[in-house]
Symmetry: C2
Subunit: 227 residues, 2 copies
Amino acid sequence: TIEVKDLYKIYSLEGVEIHAVNGITINIEDGEFVSIMGQSGSGKSTLMHIIGCLDKPTRGSAKIDGQEITDLTENELADFRLDKIGFIFQTFNLIPRASALKNVELPLIYAGVSRAERRERATKMLESVGLGDRLSSRPTQLSGGQQQRVAIARALINNPKIIFADEPTGNLDSKSGTEIMAILDSLHEQGKTVILVTHEAEVAEHANRLIRLFDGKVIEDGPIKAN
Amino acid sequence: TIEVKDLYKIYSLEGVEIHAVNGITINIEDGEFVSIMGQSGSGKSTLMHIIGCLDKPTRGSAKIDGQEITDLTENELADFRLDKIGFIFQTFNLIPRASALKNVELPLIYAGVSRAERRERATKMLESVGLGDRLSSRPTQLSGGQQQRVAIARALINNPKIIFADEPTGNLDSKSGTEIMAILDSLHEQGKTVILVTHEAEVAEHANRLIRLFDGKVIEDGPIKAN
Ligand SMILES: Nc1ncnc2c1ncn2[C@@H]1O[C@H](COP(=O)(O)OP(=O)(O)OP(=O)(O)O)[C@@H](O)[C@H]1O
Ligand SMILES: Nc1ncnc2c1ncn2[C@@H]1O[C@H](COP(=O)(O)OP(=O)(O)OP(=O)(O)O)[C@@H](O)[C@H]1O
Ligand SMILES: [Mg+2]
Ligand SMILES: [Mg+2]
């Protein structure tokens, strides 16, 4: 369960305050599939980073499974995240000098998984996103959509309970996009919580709930009206 | 005019050859608006980089306004590009430590434009993409879609004759995406050549011609069937 209460993230830039998240209260139950939409700059990635345990709020409360994440140290936050959360970044955040395989193995290295097992699991995951023939390629040797798929594989490798996906199909053609959404649908059917930022209505419609942000606030929160 | 003949771009990776561009011949007249679509990894960005004078082919010919670009040195290619071409990158390629304003001024600095004039032109361009209040922000202080808009502003600042746009709305909500497409439409109406990679059909339909790639080859080339 994710419980967010009166959440604020305020940046100070040369005397101006940017209220990236400007008073958000939402609850997300285990097993929900939620889409988050909103204009560029409305606070989607910032909100995702805070509830994904990658960033701390300026004030307010964010509880994941009862744990107040604002109480955790940087290291405790990292452990908590490794255990429960998979995060697909809007800008991929791959390690440029490491192969696709190594990039996907990274969370398993942190989790202390044996070399043989992590090699096998990372290989299978890259095959499932259509990159089985590019295991040794580095990010600069991959297309935009291929890099996005490596980022997706890495986010899912630890079998996380909660998946945050920040525009996961933004660089994918409709066929690859459909394959990725099928993976997210099947994870949802297995009981995972999926929180997805997208600006494409057909992608958003895979979820059963839509939260819309505007200027750091929630302006809409309810069931998705599928077409 | 862009004349591409028997173009190949082949990468060698550990004994395997990747034919990113695998025999392409196309002509694009001045003032055309062309969409390029195709699966992830089909060669769109690679083709764009070669005809946008950012990369050289393995073999084959690419002429822009009669100039064979494979004959140019790195420096000559850079001058040619600065003068004729604006390129919006799929992964933005902004200078991380420079402000949005400085990033957009960069082509004008290379072109020897006076400080006062480039400051004014870069400011106007950033205002036209909705970032007039973020001139001093650095890329890491901007959302994904805001970074994309800085990349767009920078590509257009030199008033280029040919605009290459590699998924320019991939990180933009529908409202910002519509504003960007309106800018590209108006540049086309002014007589510019626009070549646009996208995976979204509604974006592709702004063009009057569609080229579809598959495994580094052209499999479709003709008028766009608008809905
Ligand atoms: N430096 C490189 N070394 C090896 N292979 C490369 C390199 N750059 C690109 N490739 C490969 O060339 C092929 C075409 O890449 P390209 O970036 O042109 O695809 P794309 O159509 O733009 O894909 P996307 O829609 O995912 O952005 C891909 O298989 C890619 O992995
Ligand atoms: N480090 C920072 N310093 C200052 N402002 C920031 C910083 N990070 C984000 N912002 C600002 O906070 C606001 C919200 O950013 P956020 O990345 O959450 O938007 P978003 O909804 O994900 O947008 P997009 O759809 O463009 O990705 C934006 O105005 C952004 O510029
Ligand atoms: Mg974002
Ligand atoms: Mg590409």
